[in-house]
Symmetry: C2
Subunit: 374 residues, 2 copies
């Protein structure tokens, strides 16, 4: 098993989430905490129930505040560089659910300079093309335009920059070197960047002139940005943001590493893939936990824990716990064949994407409703 490496720029190796919890100094989301959430939300989202969102920072405090009548806002984001794949959707789907259940605002940051600064070959113009596409995927998830505000770093820089400087003054190069693995050959925009990512965690408090708690659902790789931010925000007079961390949806090639659209479009399901492309990708590339031959599979059974299709069902596509459990058992016993599991997953993905793509098309007319008006 390869040593895992998790930074905001790179995820490598077989990720040991238990180890990550210790390394990052975060807390696991306990069943007791889920019960407390359920008091407010009535039901509990399957991504929470199944611990796809597995850890948190200060979630108890956030609920304390909520129960005192001090509502939080949600903050998450997307640094555009390429198309959206299923893995990207996890934190956003969670945001949509939290927005509905807690009736809260969502501030969604599009740091349209981040990938430009960190990827040598990416032009600013290519990043903007990606931005225009990515925006559609976020809108398609059904956020309430009245309670959702998109912030685009370069467009809203007049709101960001002053506050980014206030954050930046408290961060030395030494501190970012350690957290992000930068060095003296890193460009000075990339060095500064984390200050920009910090701002939406307190910008609503600035704009509304009062201190509002913040909850950030994100992929665990983005945690280092906020470890720094959390230390700094109280020094600027704001609450530390609370965070919930999701696991990575595995790439089609297997459970090692994070689903990355930049590695290869063949290795992920894009939100714009056609039913035929989905079928082809899953059949051709989705790593299977099944046995080499039908006979052997019937006899020994498959391993759903390393089967990519099963993981996609568990983490994203199959909301029904009973169905999921049945699939798990049947696959493990050898009753359910790899081809059958793949067929089921393909249908589930295509069903999801059909609706998503329709909403994505309609989103083109709604963009202005979501972009924050200064």
């Amino acid at each position: 098993m390869a040593e895992h490496l998790v930074t905001p720029w790179e995820v490598k190796g077989d990720i040991d989430y238990e180890k990550l919890v210790k390394e990052f100094g975060v807390e696991k989301i306990s069943d007791k905490l889920l019960e407390r959430i359920q008091k407010h939300t009535k039901e509990i989202h399957f991504m929470l129930r199944r611990k796809v969102f597995f850890s948190h920072r200060d979630l108890k405090w956030l609920l304390d505040e909520y129960e005192k009548g001090n509502k939080f806002f949600l903050y998450t984001g997307r640094a555009p560089s390429g198309p959206i794949h299923l893995g990207h959707l996890l934190p956003w789907i969670m945001c949509k659910w939290l927005q509905d259940k807690f009736d809260v605002e969502m501030w969604f940051q599009f740091p349209n300079e981040e990938k430009f600064l960190f990827k040598k070959e990416l032009s600013f113009e290519k990043a903007q093309e990606a931005l225009n596409e990515n925006i559609l995927d976020v809108i398609a998830l059904g956020f309430d335009p009245k309670k959702t505000h998109f912030l685009i770093d370069t467009k809203h820089a007049d709101l960001f920059y002053e506050h980014a400087c206030k954050v930046a003054k408290k961060i030395t190069f030494n501190m970012v070197k350690a957290s992000f693995g930068l060095d003296d050959s890193t460009n000075i925009g990339a060095i500064f960047y984390t200050s920009m990512q910090a701002v939406p965690a307190f910008l609503p408090s600035v704009l509304k002139g009062k201190n509002i708690p913040c909850l950030i659902p994100l992929g665990v790789d983005q945690d280092p940005h906020f470890r720094l931010t959390r230390d700094i925000m109280p020094k600027l007079g704001y609450y530390k943001p609370s965070i919930i961390h999701s696991m990575f949806l595995p790439p089609l090639s297997g459970v090692e590493g994070k689903t990355s659209s930049s590695s290869s479009d063949k290795n992920v399901i894009l939100t714009t893939d056609s039913p035929k492309e989905v079928k082809n990708k899953i059949n051709k590339y989705a790593f299977s936990g099944g046995q080499p031959t039908l006979e052997e599979h019937r006899k020994k059974g498959g391993n759903p824990d390393i089967d990519v299709c099963f993981q996609y069902l568990r983490m994203l596509l199959e909301e029904d716990d009973k169905k999921l459990e049945q699939i798990y058992k049947d696959y493990k016993s050898g009753k359910l064949l790899t081809g059958e599991l793949k067929k089921y997953t393909i249908d589930k993905i295509n069903e999801f994407l059909k609706k998503h793509q329709e909403k994505r098309e309609k989103a083109k007319k709604k963009i202005n409703d979501f972009i924050y008006k200064k």
Copy 2:
């Protein structure tokens, strides 16, 4: 004589401008070049004639372009942290003259985050108070509001940040370390800052959709920012900006170092000083090139080259070459006494400040005419 040190953050020691020309790799402004300027301006400003503006980069090219009908724009700026003193005015007075004579636009940057980022003790709020005051001094110099645009970094960051990132991507930490003497304990806002200072050198070209030559009159200590910028701008498709460099008006304590308002308000003449304060400061603190006793002075004569009052007259206050020469001769011969030279300088300063303070008061109603409208 102390070794000189000239960076944008620190000027120390007795400045050897000849040596600086070699160190910085700039060209001296020759009489031939002045003649060429005079063809367009009819007269030549005494600060050019007396080589207070002593060196340049690409000024010949700028004039080539101008003669082809390709007008330049002016760019200079002020990082607010405290009050304005006479030394600050040198490049701005030159800008005003160049604007009038060449009928060109001026873009004036107020990087209201710079000093906040570089000075540990300076709060953002204090820098903004200084900004509001500093703006008045610039307006008071008489710029044409139709052709003058103030850019305030945090307010106009939505115009700046995208382009600052494009600059930043081409500058590594190694490069700024070398140029600005930063280290790993420098904050990441200060590291990024030079990208923001680069932007106004090509922002008018961006906004107008065509490549416009740029001339930057500045104190020679600011040159390192633009050495970097000049390398990068052609890579982004813009002309290298042309620069003319001014010497530093010496502090009252003597010709060592740059007049710095941050060191002590006693050591400089502020634009808001009363006639009494001016009289007191000059009499008490202005370093004299005269002899210890009246008898000795009459006999040996004074040294105008190290006399602060004489330098103020030469660099800023006495436009009349003949009068200045007479003062030089009379002081050197011992005919003119130190008390008399001080009296003359005090009157000159107070005459200048009376008008400046009146215009400064009127400027309060004109601020909006100067701030660039997005």
